[in-house]
Assembly symmetry: C2
Homo-oligomer: 678 residues x 2
Amino acid sequence: MKRLIEYGYKGKIYPINPKDGEIAGLKAYPTVLDVADPIDMALIVINAKHVLTAVDQCGQKGIKGIVVISAGFKETGPEGAALEKQLLQKVQSYGMRMVGPNCLGVVNTDPTVKLDACFAESLPVRGGIGFVSQSGALGGGILNILKDISLGFAQFISIGNQADVNADTALEYWENEDDVKQILLYMESIADPRGFRTLASKASKKKPVLALKSGRTAAGASAASSHTGSLAGADKAADALLKQSGVIREFSLGALFNSAKVFSHCPIPKGDRVAVITNSGGPGIMATDAICEYGMQMAPITDETKTYLRSYLPSAASVKNPIDMIASAPLEHYQKTLEAVIADPHVDMIVVIYLPFLGLKDIDVAKAIMEIKAQHPQKPIVGVFMTKNDFFEKLSEMEVNIPFFMFSEQAVDGLNRLNQQRLWLERPEGIVKEFSVDKDRVSALFDKVGSESRTQLTTAESIAVLSAYGIRICKDANASSEDEAVAIADKIGYPVVMKINSTKISHKTDVGGVRVGIESAEDLRTQYQDLMAKLKEKNLLEGLEGVIIQEMVPSSREMVCGVATDPQYGHMMMFGLGGVFVETFKDVTFRLAPLTDQDAHDMIRSVKAFKLLEGARGTIPAKLDQIEETLERLSQLVEDFPEVEELDINPLLISDKDGEAVAVDARIKIVPPKASFL
Amino acid sequence: MKRLIEYGYKGKIYPINPKDGEIAGLKAYPTVLDVADPIDMALIVINAKHVLTAVDQCGQKGIKGIVVISAGFKETGPEGAALEKQLLQKVQSYGMRMVGPNCLGVVNTDPTVKLDACFAESLPVRGGIGFVSQSGALGGGILNILKDISLGFAQFISIGNQADVNADTALEYWENEDDVKQILLYMESIADPRGFRTLASKASKKKPVLALKSGRTAAGASAASSHTGSLAGADKAADALLKQSGVIREFSLGALFNSAKVFSHCPIPKGDRVAVITNSGGPGIMATDAICEYGMQMAPITDETKTYLRSYLPSAASVKNPIDMIASAPLEHYQKTLEAVIADPHVDMIVVIYLPFLGLKDIDVAKAIMEIKAQHPQKPIVGVFMTKNDFFEKLSEMEVNIPFFMFSEQAVDGLNRLNQQRLWLERPEGIVKEFSVDKDRVSALFDKVGSESRTQLTTAESIAVLSAYGIRICKDANASSEDEAVAIADKIGYPVVMKINSTKISHKTDVGGVRVGIESAEDLRTQYQDLMAKLKEKNLLEGLEGVIIQEMVPSSREMVCGVATDPQYGHMMMFGLGGVFVETFKDVTFRLAPLTDQDAHDMIRSVKAFKLLEGARGTIPAKLDQIEETLERLSQLVEDFPEVEELDINPLLISDKDGEAVAVDARIKIVPPKASFL
């Protein structure tokens, strides 16, 4: 009540209390039903045991929005969880939406609303941020320091136990809410990953969405038998989800606020070329280091601009980027230089650095820059003012149109986020393609495996599944005679590998049963005869079902791809460097299924081994489209068959002949039938 | 003069000015020679053209320390550089030490000295930091904000053009200066890398040395023909130097100050087990994430402590680390919990988190923690107070004995640095071993190469150099007959490789001149005869000098090691993953020569491929000692022969038979004789 009144809520407040009388100077009512006027929202801050009754009254009154601050629900154990379930059922039956329970409340700083329905220590600061916090305490802590960190909220939701309203709801609502210019999320878990992806992908195309997802190292991935499984884990899944959704992931509150400050005052740039204007060498060099390390460019200032700068800057100044106007730079040099750099067509973003010198006042420089910015709002400008706190305090009392930082790196961190958002906006939407596949064959295979109470498919079965989904597998066939072997090899093309196919022998190589590099029909016949003779000699003909003639893929590049299943996030697709290095270098990347064509495109480009695919060291470039399609087809497989629990294609060889990616070995594990999806 | 007087210099000030009279209330003298008393230090702030005369007068007066603030020297071009050279000669001839020229001055906050001989905007703040800044502007900027960033200086030196005094001088002086508790360096270049290494290694064993080295991406490495060269570069060299010297490298001013704040108030911990005490879940989780990501441990609180905590904390609290006392925690819970955790033998470091709740005042909590810390100074404690700036302002007016931060990650960043310093202190000193080698043979080889006006050694010559330095090379010898070939192969041991050795044929494989995997004498004879027959058939016997019989090292692990030369830092030793992946994965590490045994030990453990050496995937573990020795021997080679410009051993195969590292191919490039070292 105190906060609602203090902050100056523009609507009408009806205190509800069984004792009625007066609360904070307002007439109180025993129940909402006693209020004559219609009510939009109810804020419930009573003992948990009375909440259901209160909700019933709200329902009867026709209130559509409720915020349940009261604790004593799911967070307290099974009883509380049961109560929360009842609460949610009630809410849904009345067609209401509910924030909470067990939350800090909500805030809307819109001047026509001015709602502070929270119990944070301080009143909110107005701004363009929509903030969702899964931790009430943290949300309150942030509300309390908004002024100190130079940020302002448009709206704030403490989702608490997120029984109904969660981050997804906020994303959906804020996507088209003009008052919210950027969305910040503090999450400890993601309730509905698929829903989140759909909503965040849309919202992030309209405004920046930033997330701090904590609990990264809390729980290790459960023991997994596959490569993909052992490299996966919930945080990899969360990371994939955020990437695919265009959400900028931050790893600390400091970084989150730093980025939010930049997004608060900067447009999205047209490119990644950064100009640095400074009156001191050191911070200019540090900014340059940071810009280059992020992979952005130092803007190649035009000769025209350089000539102009040279016309008034002292000879000791440097007109190359970073533009060092030296310590003597008066206010006028800041103004002329900034205007020239804004006008330079080779510049996309600008860092202005100021160190206190010779009586030039920090706040005067800041004001001059902001005046210029107001006239030229098109390019992002950030200020680095390595000066006293009272400068920043003065700023926090003013309307600013530029983010100011104390250190170069903070400014460049922010520009990097602007650039990241630019790249996301430029990235095509991406579609989930549908390929023509033999779904029935896979269905039949899985049924067979299930009927045998197995969960692990044999190699042959695994390969058959891939083949049914149009994935390029290593060609092979069983031959029961020499002539048949030659016929098969002729069809596959030389060189080939010959392996014995016997029900009795499991370690083929131990008995000399694998012959590689067979170059011709003649060679094959010789080797076949030799093999049979040796098997006879060793009395190993029993159980022999013939020989497998297999295509031999000449390759110096072994990749890996696969699928793991996270209990919360579902199917995770993996791609990366395979072979003996897979566990050592962990040069792999994950995305959640279903993959769009863009996701597949991004995946293969986000591992270091991409250089190998491009054709490093004189190799034939890999068929990138075909690798992407392989990943997309795998994605379709697990979408069609959710029972696929683990899948490894290792190695996925890149042919040195034509760059084609060929699945040579595969293993698939499915969940036991009793747990299968209906 | 203004600063000297304002800050209250404890000595006597003699203003020197040709006009004499009075300056700032003090009697001025025309020259130092006119002052009757002895003078310790002269601060020279006059036009560059008069500096030499002033120095002469100082010399005659017997002044031993001078600080030349005046600009107009090397930084202005060749004329200034010449003047600076004269200045230095004069300084040295008088047996003086000089700070500058072109600097901001020096500061000593020792209460018995109180010297502020700088022209920064603000007076210095007293503390335990010795700070060297290569940028005067940046140094001044930092002096100006010391109070705002909660740091204090014991001494400050703006080294300017560092004609005489540089970072090395400061390290040497401060190593044994008790007033300086930690050393901070801002460097854009390192004048004398060897001297720096010697002095920094010693100093860093006594107190933390932190460096921000900028200009990381300014200049790319010059075009290099070797692998090692192409992966090297000045920043890699600087990084290696700092690592070998025990200097903690920071990459931003924010991080530098963050660490300095922690070192200002924390002892070095006994281990890496961190306990987190919090009144709010979110920041506790974020601290946990950061602790685990740094590879530190969440302290396993003893059962005894847990039982005690449980005795007074509410049931909703968590007594497992992180210890969440929940929002209701009163001051008493903070006190009891902190005392219990300090007493817990499983805890090495402590993070105390506070979010404002229920009227508990931030400053009261901070004071309570500091009181406990004062009684138990043995363990590092850091505070995370996510509260308003005015809390931090209040702190800046107080004596504090704990570093306080706004965010969890800042606190954990600091603890990680404490832990890093602990590891450095625990690291054995390391010695540069001297191996018995055949130096004369290498001398003769290099002379021969030089006499032929070559800089590139042949493979055979390169291998011979390695062999002379006792590096395990792939055994081989030339055979001019079948019998000789067999005799050699018998000595080397099978399997072997046979390669033709011909002056006419450069591409051996194109003519079928390389035979691998020869398993027996019989096999060798057959292959030898076949090879000779084929060569005769193709008319290729002319120029044939025999065949090379080479040991065949069975290996699935290819490493690389080598040497590159940086124009400033000298010889850089490299080690890492070799073979086709060397450029793709860049899984290599650098250290500067000479290598100590500890450096070699660290090197092989700092690449991801170390897992392969340990025997990943069922391979025989590599002989780690022998690989270390290989690196140490290479280091000795380049110390003995500075003319070695580039050296690559690629691959350095790890034998699957016995784990030995074998140099199979090598290339060495030396500098042209005219540039050789005398």
